[in-house]
């Protein structure tokens, strides 16, 4: 049994760390977060040259066909650096969905372009009221002139303003259906939502009679539902890896601060009230990492309990990232409450990541469905009853 990153994975992780330290340091993150889209074409090009955009895409479509654990180890560093831009939406959300829902032509067209860094793609899921269960999707496609028409609003669509395509999740005759929509389609309008997380931009996407050609239908009915679940699991596991990286960074800057900041003539990290908060941050971070690695491994190896592993990881880290942020800011004291200190940028990311793909309560209910409902009472006890 070996439950640590392999040497190759560790090397990959270090390469990503070094690349981002050089190309996307905090100063650059802060510059980008003040822009409308937080997107830097030059950084995107370099990322694509590094091969990151093709990591998950199968070799037959021009990618590297790497495993989810490789991806998770890179994502840890990406989350640690708070790297802004459409990487997550394109590579973790859209790519896996197209790979599972698309036909051969669609996969050749979109996956190859994603791998080469030529296409940025996002996924439009949430509506009003926002709900992460597929039941929340109400937008309905109408058949018209051999194709379809889409009307309605999608909310919290990440990176929509810089995406070349959107995968819009809607309904067709009551069943789920996935549509590829070009970002320059007539009737599509994209306006920013002012999110607390400055490093991940989200948008309202209004569709007003947007025409969908038949070849732009990715999947409908059972095939759409069958693609959406596993693709969402990959995005969720990826997000937990990112969150773990953010927690790691909060832990590091907080411990460093506790070692250097002096009060009462000694480093504040010498006080147990402070030291124990740092110990809790380590516990949260390492536990979140355990969950993230196992979720990635379970998906990669297609272990039957993978959906459970993903819900466990997300249920845990949704609370743990926020709690780590709470302690980071508390230990930093007044400094932690300032704009110039980086802690709040992670805290904002923690709060928004908590909600993405379902918060802790959402995933605890998923777990209850898989664990509690699946294990009924012993027959003799059911007959006897109790209470």
């Amino acid at each position: 049994m070996q439950f640590e990153l392999t040497e190759t994975q560790q090397t990959l992780k270090n390469t990503v760390l070094k690349f981002l330290a050089a190309e996307c340091p905090m100063a650059e993150v802060r510059r980008l977060m003040e822009t409308d889209t937080a997107f830097d074409p030059a950084l995107w090009r370099k990322i694509a040259e590094q091969g990151w955009t093709g990591m998950l895409i199968p070799e037959s479509y021009g990618g590297f066909g790497m495993g989810m654990v490789d991806m998770a180890s890179a994502l840890e560093e990406i989350g640690r650096a708070l790297m802004p831009g459409p990487f997550f939406s394109t590579v973790l959300m859209a790519g896996p969905l197209i790979e599972r829902a698309g036909n051969e032509n669609q996969k050749q067209k979109y996956l190859g372009a994603i791998a080469r860094g030529e296409a940025k793609v996002t996924v439009a899921f949430l509506e009003d009221p926002p709900a992460w269960s597929p039941d929340g999707v109400q937008m309905t496609a109408r058949a018209a002139g051999g194709g379809y028409l889409l009307d309605g609003k999608k909310l919290f669509v990440p990176d929509a303003a810089v995406a070349d395509f959107l995968v819009v999740i809607a309904r067709l005759e009551g069943q789920l259906a996935l549509f590829m929509v070009g970002s320059n389609s007539k009737g599509l309008s994209i306006s920013p939502m002012s999110s607390m997380d400055l490093t991940r931009k989200v948008y309202e996407v209004a569709l007003d009679g947007v025409k969908i050609a038949p070849e732009d239908v990715l999947a409908t009915g059972a095939a759409a539902a069958a693609a959406l679940g596993p693709a969402r699991a990959i995005a969720t596991a990826g997000l937990v890896a990112e969150m773990t990286g953010g927690m790691q960074r909060l832990l590091e800057i907080t411990v460093e601060y506790a070692k250097t900041r002096k009060q009462f003539g000694r480093p504040i990290g010498q006080f147990q009230a402070v030291q124990h908060q740092c110990a809790d941050m380590l516990l949260y971070t390492e536990s979140s990492r355990s969950g993230a690695y196992y979720a990635a491994y379970a998906l990669q190896e297609a272990i039957p309990e993978a959906p459970l592993a993903v819900s466990v990881a997300k249920a845990y880290s949704s609370d743990a990232y926020r709690e780590t942020g709470n302690r980071a800011i508390q230990v930093h004291g007044g400094m932690g409450f300032t704009w110039e200190n980086d802690a709040h940028l992670y805290y904002r990311r923690a709060k928004v990541s908590e909600q993405m793909f379902g918060d802790a309560a959402f995933h605890r209910e998923q777990i209850a469905k898989m664990v509690v409902d699946a294990h009924p009472a012993r027959p003799e006890e059911k007959a006897a009853g109790r209470g």
Binding site: F3, Q9, G269
Partner: protein
């Protein structure tokens, strides 16, 4: 990353499973719930002897001293399978998990020959004499005196919180051999025959009503100098040398026991009626069960990572403290949620006709309170993490 067992490990696991299926005593549940403490202990001693004779005890211990010289992973599998089979625990807990490994690490060849096989066979039961009335969390404040007199040490002092002190044949004792020393210096680790004149054991009654722990008094107890383990004056390093190992491997069994209790609680949630419907359908209870499952699973994963690290790097790190904090606090949350789910019946203890599962939930709730105190409080564990893992200045 590869979480599969190797073919050799699978073979080992399957053999062990088959053996446990055939040999776990069917009357264990009756002994567990009905026996008085000493009767139950005798039962466990006989069980350990059987495990030893079948070759399953001391798996990672050297062959020449009665072990199997097996890799650590087999020890982990053993712990897991014992818990999974709901097998009785082995009687000589401290000898197996702490004192034996310490003798292996620091003992002379004659000491290893004299003590190790008897630990495995449960022919000699061990307790540990570390804590004192004024040396709890501040363990280095040990005052029990060991004064050299010819080829013997003369021991005077008092120890406390000695698990199994009432059953022990031997005690691994931490003493102060240099009266002019303070703190970690001048301590000596010495093996004391509990039948020596001047040793007096008094049981301590704990809040569960049981007496797992004792106080031990030493009045002019003469111990051969040959019984010093490691170097004279180096007792601190000997004492803490194997603590990290214990924290890293013992958790495997705790996790599976927790998981079994959780599965039982899930069963009960379908038959326990709350607000007119099964607890399993109550959204608040479902949230809490989901949370428990999450934490128990995260504990399993943390455990696996810790074991991987020992396999990779050879030695466990102080990360064992993270595991100890996690499982003890988790067990308290779990017992709270269990008693909450089960309602008023959960407060009934053994013997009451309305008690659930012979009162084990009431007992579990009370017993868990000790978890964050025994074997190093959560506060001490957080100090260890702060200082030894995160590199923060020592706080005490």
């Amino acid at each position: 990353m590869d979480l599969n067992l190797t073919p050799a490990e699978l073979k080992f696991r399957d053999e062990l499973r088959a053996w446990l299926r055939a040999n776990v005593p069917s009357d264990w549940e009756k002994h567990r719930t009905e026996d008085e403490m000493r009767e139950r202990f005798e039962f466990l001693r006989v069980w350990q002897k059987k495990v030893y004779q079948a070759g399953w005890a001391g798996l990672s211990w050297p062959k020449e001293y009665g072990g199997r010289g097996a890799p650590l992973m087999e020890q982990v599998i053993f712990t897991e399978e014992m818990a999974r089979a709901a097998a009785p625990p082995l009687a000589n807990v401290l000898g197996l998990s702490l004192i034996g490994p310490t003798i292996i690490a620091f003992g002379t060849d004659p000491q290893k020959k004299r003590f190790l096989a008897n630990i495995l066979s449960a022919d000699e039961i061990w307790c540990q004499g570390f804590s004192e009335p004024n040396a709890g969390s501040d363990l280095a404040n040990v005052r029990t005196e060991a004064r050299l007199d010819g080829d013997h040490y003369v021991i005077n002092g008092q120890k406390v919180w000695n698990s199994y002190g009432w059953a022990a044949d031997w005690c691994a004792l931490l003493t102060r051999s240099d009266p002019n020393s303070t703190k970690h210096q001048g301590l000596t680790y010495i093996l004391v025959d509990m039948k020596s004149p001047g040793v007096e054991v008094r049981p301590l009654r704990q809040m569960t009503g049981e007496s797992e722990f004792c106080e031990i008094f030493f009045h002019d107890v003469r111990v051969p100098a040959a019984n010093v383990l490691g170097k004279v004056g180096d007792g601190w390093n000997v004492a803490i040398g194997t603590l990290a190992h214990e924290r890293a491997t013992l958790g495997a069994g705790v996790q599976i026991t927790l998981k079994r209790q959780f599965d039982r609680l899930v069963q009960l949630s379908h038959t326990t009626i709350r607000n007119g419907k099964p607890a399993a359908e109550d959204p608040v209870i479902r949230q809490k069960l989901g949370q428990c499952y999450t934490d128990i699973e995260i504990m399993r994963l943390n455990q696996m990572r810790a074991i991987s690290r020992i396999n990779q790097k050879g030695v466990p790190g102080p990360e064992g403290s993270v595991l100890k904090i996690f499982w003890t606090e988790l067990n308290q949350r779990f017992q709270q949620i269990a008693t909450e789910l089960l309602g008023p019946y959960a407060s009934l203890t053994k013997g009451d006709p309305h008690a659930i599962d012979e009162g084990q939930w009431a007992y579990g709730f009370l017993r868990a309170r000790g978890n964050t105190i025994e074997a190093g409080t959560s506060e001490v564990q957080r100090n260890i993490v702060g200082h030894f893992v995160l590199g923060l200045p020592k706080s005490y």
